[in-house]
Symmetry: C2
Subunit: 219 residues, 2 copies
């Protein structure tokens, strides 16, 4: 399958637009661990993931990283090409969590097509809204309320008390213990799972990296 | 002057689009202090500021507020109508800092026009990118590096040492003292000024609300 089968709104584009986008996209193989984007002022291009898994994150002066979101098959990344919009002025690092295949679309070509296509511009706005929602959630839960630390601490304490890394409890029960909402617990557990700290099953949470979970609990 | 003179991209719209937007916009007077938007699920509509000043902020469970950005004359606000994009799922509160006049465009009308207009969709994406940049800056400087607290603390200490609320120092000097960059100091001082904590002059910073600045320094 080619680029157009992976790009979510191919069906809404004209034949000419679809062909132009497809012919400009370059397929690249990326090894696990390599950093694709993040150098200030650099404009890598837009990324469409064919296979694998990428991670978008920001980096503090002190070397602490905060994951903003993950990119999986068919996910589209704007912030590797923040130059397509003059108003976007921040740097997001993107690295490969697993060996990955990605298409890179040159920023200039996308920018020019987007300026004339309502479909592409609306899609771009939707994607930005999605990432914005992720970041606002992080602001509220992690940087502000320290809910990541509180949940990590709770899981470590429970594992200690029950002498097991497989905790049989529902998200509702955890939420009740932490004075939070089930939705918040579910989303943070998903975030933990993406970070490799736990595995989430129906009615059970398995701690898969106790050391890192404990260090998050004590951060 | 009417709506079209204030809306930044009127000149790029077709006559029909401009007329439709103008006729749908309702001019409202808002008293200082009133909250315009923020109730979950509510979709107030898009806001264009004619006069006055609005503030967009988020609210923690503990009642702490963080200002995201201010809206002045000719500024356009999307997040009072987050329903225009299904991917935007967070609530931003908007209140009037001064008596203001605003135009409100019904979300449904804007959404429908944006779906067909590349100009409107690109403008919407640009505005979102601008707000996203503001929020990323806040994440990095305030919630993460506590630069707001460090700068407030520095200004209070200097005022104490010099026995004056009018500090004669450049942004470069402050940056050097705090191990930061001039641009970061300038932007945070602008943020402080918008919050009413200081007034910034050429070569001089006047502390205008010492009590709140001190409480920020100790937070």
């Amino acid at each position: 399958m080619g680029f157009s089968e992976y790009f979510p709104i191919s069906g809404k584009l004209s034949d000419a637009e679809r062909k132009k986008l497809e012919s400009s996209a370059v397929l690249k193989k990326i090894s696990k661990g390599s950093v694709i984007s993040g150098v200030s002022g650099e404009c890598t291009g837009l990324i469409l993931v064919k296979s694998g898994r990428l991670r978008a994150y920001i980096n503090s002066d002190q070397g602490r990283e905060v994951t903003l979101y993950h990119l999986l098959e068919r996910d589209f990344c704007l912030f590797s090409a923040s130059c397509i919009m003059k108003s976007v002025q921040f740097d997001v690092f993107i690295s490969a969590v697993a060996d990955s295949e990605i298409w890179v679309i040159p920023a200039e070509i996308y920018k020019e097509m987007m300026s004339r296509s309502a479909v592409l511009a609306n899609y771009t706005a939707e994607i930005m809204g999605m990432r914005f929602t992720d970041v606002m959630w992080l602001v509220e839960q992690i940087l502000w309320k320290s809910f990541d630390r509180r949940l990590a601490s709770f899981l470590c304490d429970e594992a200690e008390a029950e002498s097991t890394d497989r905790l049989k409890m529902t998200h509702e029960q955890i939420a009740a213990n932490l004075g939070s909402a089930r939705e918040v617990v579910t989303r943070m557990l998903k975030y933990f799972q993406e970070e490799g700290l736990v595995s989430v099953y129906r009615g059970m949470i398995e701690i898969t990296d106790k050391k890192r979970l404990a260090s998050l609990a004590e951060s």
